[in-house]
Symmetry: C2
Subunit: 452 residues, 2 copies
Amino acid sequence: MQNNPGLLLDLYELTMAAGYFERKVQLRASFDLFVRRLPKHRSFLVAAGLENGLKFLEKFSFTNQDIDFLKQKGIFKDDFLHYLSALRFSGDVYALPEGSIFFSGEPVLRVSAPILEAQLVESYLLNVINLATTICSKAARVVMAAKGTGVYDFSLRRTQGPDAGMAAARSSYIAGCAGTSNVLAGALYNIPLAGTMAHSFIMSFRDELESFRIYASTFPDSTTLLVDTYDYRKGIQNAISVAKELEVEGHKLRAIRLDSGNLASISKLARSSLDAHGLRYVKILASGNLDEYKIERLLGARAMIDNFGVGTNMGVSSDAPYLDIIYKLSQIDDLEGNAYPVMKLSQGKVTYPGKKQVFRIANTRCAYLKDIIGLEGEKVAGKPLLEKVMENGKIVKPSPSIKNLRSFMRDNLKALPARYKKLQGRALYPVMLSQGLKELVSRIKQQIKYRG
Amino acid sequence: MQNNPGLLLDLYELTMAAGYFERKVQLRASFDLFVRRLPKHRSFLVAAGLENGLKFLEKFSFTNQDIDFLKQKGIFKDDFLHYLSALRFSGDVYALPEGSIFFSGEPVLRVSAPILEAQLVESYLLNVINLATTICSKAARVVMAAKGTGVYDFSLRRTQGPDAGMAAARSSYIAGCAGTSNVLAGALYNIPLAGTMAHSFIMSFRDELESFRIYASTFPDSTTLLVDTYDYRKGIQNAISVAKELEVEGHKLRAIRLDSGNLASISKLARSSLDAHGLRYVKILASGNLDEYKIERLLGARAMIDNFGVGTNMGVSSDAPYLDIIYKLSQIDDLEGNAYPVMKLSQGKVTYPGKKQVFRIANTRCAYLKDIIGLEGEKVAGKPLLEKVMENGKIVKPSPSIKNLRSFMRDNLKALPARYKKLQGRALYPVMLSQGLKELVSRIKQQIKYRG
């Protein structure tokens, strides 16, 4: 991630800021960050990326170098650039906690700040929330499909950039993965690390057995042997030989890894061969272009797999690599404290006005029944989900530990009824508008007739 | 991007490195980075990301903090960690220049280095080459579809992370886009910047006309007015009023922007309204979930659009968000200078042995006819494409300017026959193996029978 992302924004944010600056009057604005429509086959999403978003807001600023670059563009006036050079983000943020399940139209984040500031942080906030939420939502599906079998994130090599590799490790762990292969993510985020070996290691030795022995002697208690480089039958036999040699030394082979071919049938062969040699404790890890559908089929075929290594499809959310996520103005407050809720009527792109809250209604057994999008302060049944996380530009609610986020997500998912958790098709979770919001919408629609 | 990406690797790269270290003998290895299969509907790809990859290799190292973290994991021996703490990448790299068209199976990069080093840099290299190549290849399609109409990258808010936003701006500009909205990319990569305004700007004013006037007074010679916030017919009329007011002051409205609805018909209405008021010089920019297919349809429907703003679909390459890109061992050289070419025979995942070169054969009018993957040093017809870019860990061929990369890419694309440039379906460009490589493959297959 860029160290100083002040300039990591869209040019129009700066030109609009210059326009706001020109007007002199500093109005306060509220923006909602939300997903307009869910991707195909998705009945819910899982919020993530808030920690990164808030860190960005806290350090948002322009360096002298940034200002020099803008000056040299020749389109901004000096007094505006001078203003930018001292600018910090001073707004308030309400947000869904990371790991929250949410649905289309519900604000994930609400930013209230002087409009110039709120506008400048738009693209970066959208970017980091979109990335983390996209992957967390995909990973939740993979973890659900695995039904308790461990899933490890192996996606670093194919994520869309290093930042995405870091976000994939963190988001997938929050979603319930058991760990990651990404060492930096392990170090920075305190996520368990997992790894095996590559075909190249084996191919660099005279023969497979020699490569297995060297590796096992280096990591006698944590070796996973990849058995399909030349021929998986022979590979399994070689792994068994090394496992027996380790036993003599008082060690245990941890696992073998299958990375190609018919994983269901090969895993059964591997399991029975291992068991026949008294190696019930040796686990079987499978990898190779896996996703939630393949995992579901493998488990359906009673594959004997103890852990899945899932890479690309989870790390880029390959079937839904982005969300229809937007950041829309919902209210202007003037200096006298008058509120002007606003909405947009562009074809197919309508937004809801006002400062909003999301209320979730559960039954007595804590199963989610429906959500109501209402107005802030409105009396609505259900639990309000948006929490104040930033005030006057300072984080007021520190991010929970990643372990807590993970168990929060798990509890959340448990409370979502099964019909919304199917991998295919889509069940529409009920999200209604409160009486107050409905009335506001029709009032604003009336007013807009006179604004165009 | 992480400042010090030493630990941004997969755990197995470190454990394999420990295994290589254990063996003592430091063999030299060659790895090919290539794409196994092209995505659906793609007949070619465009190489990008080399500059980032080489910068990474040049500064590759572990900090004391990294070493401390690894020590604390408790699985690595002290002498190995001590070795890592002083490690730098000392290898050689051959690569396709950025902007090169290439096909499946052809090495994009060949790394030759002590095997431990070559293995440690695998994931990061794959990551940055995959990202930039994925987006450059997608952007080439968008630019082809636009047939000379300008395309601007508006993807920052939806790319998979900040790094991806930077790569999207750079890769799409190399592919022929006219500019980007990403200000940091404009500043760091010297890419033209473009911007318009958001609906929020308009909605923060009493009425649309007032918002247009304020914006135009701030940027009297570079204003693009967004006309669809409330009603595009009224919006176009308001833009015309402001354009006429600007004319009085000696300025010219640059453009209007359409962001929703039927862009073909609205653009025609806008064009005729503008022209009827003597505003032929005012351009029309269209945006809103565009991709190569929609652009083709719009131009087919004779839309009156001068520039396209293309975001998400290009910035995440939404129909093919990753490549089947891999990094595979192809040869081991021992300390006596003996070469041992190697290959992998896993089901569906076969690789080619030896240090290779890609030769491209063109006809007398410079149109590409076919490629031949041969061995380094082999006498093969055609132009060798892989160039030496790094020697002993130092960059020996600095990256060309981005303008040169862009024109190299344009010439490259011109030389590719039209049948490979269709947006749908796939024409298979002929890629053959040289006599020398064929012979090597059959020799190695024989040997492997005795290695499993």
